[in-house]
Symmetry: C2
Amino acid sequence: MPKAKPEELRALTRDVFHAAGVPREEAEQVAHLMVLSNIRGHDSHGVRQIPRYLQRVQEKSILAGKGVTVEKDTPSLAILNGNRSFGHFAATHAMKLAIAKARKVGIAAVGVHNLNHIGRVGAYPEMAAAEGLIGMCFVASRGGDKAQVPFGGIEPRLATAPISVGIPVTGKQPILLDFATSVVAANKVRQALDRKKPAGDGWLIDAAGKPVSDPAQYIAGKAFLNPVGGLAGHKGYGLAVLNTIFAGILTGGGTLASTLPNLGHDNLTMMIVLDPFAFVARDFYDREMTTLVAYLRNTKVRPGDPPVQVPGEYEELYQRKVEAEGIEIEQPVWDAIMKAARSVGVAMPQPIPAR
Amino acid sequence: MPKAKPEELRALTRDVFHAAGVPREEAEQVAHLMVLSNIRGHDSHGVRQIPRYLQRVQEKSILAGKGVTVEKDTPSLAILNGNRSFGHFAATHAMKLAIAKARKVGIAAVGVHNLNHIGRVGAYPEMAAAEGLIGMCFVASRGGDKAQVPFGGIEPRLATAPISVGIPVTGKQPILLDFATSVVAANKVRQALDRKKPAGDGWLIDAAGKPVSDPAQYIAGKAFLNPVGGLAGHKGYGLAVLNTIFAGILTGGGTLASTLPNLGHDNLTMMIVLDPFAFVARDFYDREMTTLVAYLRNTKVRPGDPPVQVPGEYEELYQRKVEAEGIEIEQPVWDAIMKAARSVGVAMPQPIPAR
């Protein structure tokens, strides 16, 4: 399996989009976030998306260089129109604006509609946490897949509707929640199929309400994701509905049920940012957070089991490994990227030689 | 099983606390919220708590008539000291203040620490939703039970850490999420024991990491609650950690890990309120919400299954039943309330005669 250095994949990604007409700075930003997905252990939203995004740029379903338009703006909140930009670009704009507002007023919300796929949801709360703020990102869909069944139903009517929250821990990696409200993300099902493994217990349900273990049934549209929670799936379902309203309706976008004209594939996104030091003193926050993190990590485990992780530790450990060893890319994905890059006259980097 | 009218139970509850020295208005507020728990289908937080709360008032671990103290106050946020009040009283104050602030600035947060048990968490977001606002309530604990294991651990280090969100639907009952981040609330385990039923699959784990089906093990402190999610229990765990930080640390209260002096039993509480009409136009919101609610309810179900519910519909249906038929109270609970009431010179209402 080819391996490449993060900085070379970043340059490749930027050059491919720039060659297709995306302004260099915007291409750079998208490339940064895509490769960061690979670095943080979420390959599904990484460089494997280059061919798909390139096609969308060429078809003009992703429009670049249009900026975002501010439709509503108060000290505490804003609504942005993403002008069909790269989702990464518009969502970064929204998070940066929410950060600036929260610094001033303590808590702020910025919603953005009319934008494309934003990639790894966790990237945006991480931006807030890196600046010492708490960031929340809610994501809904207008034109995307109906992937998830409402609890008690046998028909998909919701997106996987992910939520992410990043919380700073002074001097350490932030706490990061980043998860689909379905029992797993759609990509986990695709991965099971690729690896010739069954879908996990409780992941999938079919149109007769029976559990499904063959991941190919999902790809064929004959099985659907359950909400997280199993018998308590009303909890995952509730969170999916919450997400649909926060990111879909409060941003002015709409939902999968909407009767408004559909602008196409999009990731409607609501950012909420809190400044913890507007609530409590810095020394109190630092001491309490440090104590809590140590307390959770020190939880007793079964003999031989790995230690309990703090949310976000998976990403941290993965990043260390990739920074030391490079990013591994499956051969068919590498070949597809190469084909896309060549079509716009960009060469692939040299893979890192196998040891 | 005795049945009583809601208004008579309200008067009883108020009179018991008032007789014990609680100012009449405060006693009225607590009584309203306690009986509302019975009305909305959460008997665990209803009138069965009268004896326990009365004892706490008499021991002066609940202090009444002290009001709350504002420790921090900006247009967007506030931190309150509950002065060891009834949790119901202090949390109502916090939610009302958050509602007033959100009306002015669009999004606001109010935290409160140093208060007692707040009862049914959903009651507070319902207050916001009744006024056309979105309310969120996060609850953590300082002195409460360690009930829930961190995902991957075999030792309880977290409270059940419930979250509730209420979202208005114009002209209809609000959408209401109200759930523990553990797979079930502790009370569900107690209920299973009372009804001589096993704990559900995946509810409990013991100190050896084995699943437990005997609910008595939980009561004996030999089994603990798992986070919601099963194999995806990192999601429930992540939400419990989020709750611990929002309600515990950002309110200035602390966590179960805190090294600060512990003030005793408390439900640290963070309210976040959003004004949807500060984000989007009222007609857009109304149309989108109405469409979404109908769309979810119309989800196909297995032949013979009940229709898919919108979150909060359970409470709505339960309330209709109770308002028509009265509140049922198990005989031992009725007797315990009678004993407590008599001890302060208050008589029980006449039960509704059986038909």
